[in-house]
Symmetry: C2
Subunit: 213 residues, 2 copies
Amino acid sequence: MPRITAERREARRIEILAAARRCFSRDGFHQTSMPDIAREAGLSAGAFYRYFPSKEDVILEIAGQAFGAMAGRIAAVGEDGSPAGIADIVAAVVGPMSGPTIELGPGDVAPTDELARCGVQAWGELMRHDTLRNRAAAAFDVLRARVAEVLRRGQVAGDVPADLEPDHGARVVMALLPGFVLQRQAFGLDDADGFVRAVDTLLGRTPPSEQPV
Amino acid sequence: MPRITAERREARRIEILAAARRCFSRDGFHQTSMPDIAREAGLSAGAFYRYFPSKEDVILEIAGQAFGAMAGRIAAVGEDGSPAGIADIVAAVVGPMSGPTIELGPGDVAPTDELARCGVQAWGELMRHDTLRNRAAAAFDVLRARVAEVLRRGQVAGDVPADLEPDHGARVVMALLPGFVLQRQAFGLDDADGFVRAVDTLLGRTPPSEQPV
DNA sequence: AGCTTCCGTGAATGCTCATTCGCCTTGACC
DNA sequence: GGTCAAGGCGAATGAGCATTCACGGAAGCT
């Protein structure tokens, strides 16, 4: 018979994750100590371990949130049946991010700057953490296939060059996203509209040969 | 009167940096201990400190190498007077990377996978290390201006949409690079040719309106 | 050769940190 | 209200780490 309800317990867990995100986005994964997280969450160091087995578990969970938030935005494009183009995909990921981080469900949070900063650090972890990398690779493949599908539809509609290999094209589209995130988080370049407009223009919606100066 | 010549001293310094790159690319900045670096360099832990004041200095120097190697490739595009396009810039960064890391000059090394992996981790450091961020931001601005200039020339030649804002377009081109590096280093996707081909196609060299299915 | 100066060594130092443990508190259930 | 298992606490633990230091030895110079 637990002293606190399951809901309260879950809320506490989520609160600890939120505190960890704040610490990680401010100081980095490895410069944040457990007492830091506990203090930020308003708990003692010991209480933390009633909710998570180790610090690494929190890092992995937050890395998962960061990747998941991005993936969720991409996956949502075109789900309502509207005709989705490449620029729509880019716009979805690159869209507004400010405000507090909101829990959408268990382990599912809205994308924020805070989370994006954790994500950038998680890229570094990807390269030597096998579990994280495998999960991320699987998610990447799903998204890439989805983007490739959008490109194929675009080819049918004539919006996308017919001689583009969709799988390679999807790689290029996916490659735009980390670059934008990095520019925004590291250099403060957050003109998402200008970025999307440039993507739209570059992608040939307005073919250069028909737009002489 | 030094016991070893200046050349030998410099060689040792470079060797330590090489050892640190190997360790960092394998285990990450913060999972690598000083004894690890010393052992990899064939030195004692104490000797390291005759060459560098601290571990952080090595990290910063290697981060600088990683960014500098990329920057060097971008900056080299079009320097020989040949007409450079966007795809040339992407191709330059995305090009071959294997082989041992080669010292090109003081603090100047050729891009390798090893160095690229250090670079990805350095992105995470960027966000909370002011000195590193400021230097990177300055370098980024220079490169972006250079890419924007290539785009302007492309507009004159008719290869690039006239209504593209060159500064925004340059951001987009620059954004492609971290994405490609991450895909290569984290997921092993190293088909650089296919990537460049897709960039070339997407950029509208072959306007979609003239390529109906 | 003799002196001096610097280099390399590796054990010692003095932290910090993740994690654990014994104890007290709290709230649910009877 | 009483009981008791779980929650919370924070000092204690023990490992690991960056950095320092005192010494042995090798090069340069005279």
